[in-house]
Subunit: 240 residues, 2 copies
DNA sequence: CGGCGAGTGGGTCAGATGACCCAGTCGCGC
DNA sequence: GCGCGACTGGGTCATCTGACCCACTCGCCG
């Protein structure tokens, strides 16, 4: 083994650890398996890291940055926001299908950090990172299709993260492409419903410019009655 | 230790195993930790189960049935489908908040079965079970609020499962109640948007009874053009 | 009511694993 | 060009873990 600066060695060990975890899970990522993957000797491990725990903690932190924006897809002409979102989600799904182990490894690392004393915060930060990525994607998608979001961006980002998580988890469990595609379409629909076109379509004459009661407010929380609202007629929960 | 029939011993060991897994994860669920939790001796373990693997396999299978319908909530008068769904989701969220370890254990067991040769099928069956529960909840919710679903039930059930998974995962990561509540509201909205009231509201005069192009079809897949559709105007992905 | 076998208890064993030690070696700075 | 110290290699050690063994006990059946 060539002589490497510690920093580089740490980097390689981290990469090897992720590979091993992808293949056999966190439990199977023993120090020996990791150095084996990296083509090193066991002593080098403890030269670079004080302990296996330290490596895993670093890895969890690292992984946050390693996540790329896979949702971003080149927009097409005349494409609606919903369509763009759906293609983005399908693209994400493709990356999951291509490398399911990678995705599994991510989930497992999150779980590891949630369960390990001292690392709980990292799981939260990881999700913070996901939301930031989601927010960026949502912003770009909206401006590319001439739309505006009707809710705070970070809120919608949280929803998108939940949707992608659910989507990935379900696919990992049963590998059902058809079902996953349908759920992706549903997710796109659901998110697009939280937007409005920026170019306000001409309002039909006579219709007052009512600010159409925020359709995305909680459906159960008692909304401060701006005007006393009588018991609403039996209707599905869709916005007025 | 009292003398127990094997069946009972197995049951107790399974319960103890789940408890241990909730506390310390699958990796920490060693045979010793399990028998300790159950108040038995190690030998009893191998008397009841051939191996730790056999117990875990059985546990994964068991867990499928153990899941209850927590989404079901008593309906209130004049409540919309969306409101009912949101309350159901919030109730689910409450169970997660009350026993996060339980939920974590479930996720971990799923992951274990996905990763263990011979148990992959169990993960799929587990999700099948989840979908069945979701479908039952959705049916009940719709009929209680006088609504009908506009998409096949099992499809919507898959969406609901994805949403609850994403919701739970996010909450487990950051324990942010506010965010989780908002996502629950979003999920309820999104699902309710896939329904329609059964009592058809009187159609405005002059508006033909057009079957308003299925709003829930995929937004990207080329829909067989019933009528040649020119490039759609730039609009958000929301249904016409 | 006596024996037999299902069930129990305590111990053992081999292998895996995290940690870490120490004698070397070899590249870099002087 | 050379010495020093950052790095490497090949061990060792204590501990944990799954598996399993065998002598014993005690409730039930005949």
């Amino acid at each position: 083994m060539a002589r490497l600066p510690v920093a580089e060695r740490r980097r390689r060990l981290l990469a090897a650890a992720f590979t091993v975890i992808s293949r056999v899970g966190v439990a199977g990522a023993t120090t020996r398996a990791i150095v084996d993957e990296a083509g090193m000797k066991l002593a080098s491990f403890h030269y670079a890291f004080a302990s296996r725990e330290e490596l895993l903690a670093e890895l969890v932190g690292d992984v946050i940055g390693r996540t790329e924006v896979v949702l971003a897809v080149p927009p097409r002409d005349g494409e609606s926001l919903g369509q763009l979102l759906e293609r983005g989600l399908l693209r994400y799904l493709d990356t999951v299908r291509e490398a399911p182990e990678r995705e599994r490894a991510m989930f497992e690392l999150t779980q590891y950090s949630m369960r390990t004393p001292g690392l709980e915060g990292l799981a939260a930060r990881q999700y913070e990172g996901y939301r930031a990525l989601a927010a960026a994607s949502l912003t770009k998608a909206a401006e590319r299709t001439g739309c505006a979001w009707q809710r705070p961006l970070d809120e919608l980002a949280a929803h998108l993260v939940a949707l992608t998580d659910g989507l990935a988890l379900a696919w990992l469990a049963d590998a059902d492409d058809t079902r996953a595609h349908r759920t992706a379409a549903f997710a796109a629909r659901a998110l697009a419903a939280e937007s409005r076109p920026l170019t306000v379509p001409p309002r039909p004459l006579g219709e007052p410019p009512r600010p159409l009661a925020d359709p995305s407010r909680s459906l159960t929380e008692p909304s401060r009655p701006l005007a006393p609202t009588p018991a609403p007629p039996t209707r599905p929960g869709e916005p007025a």
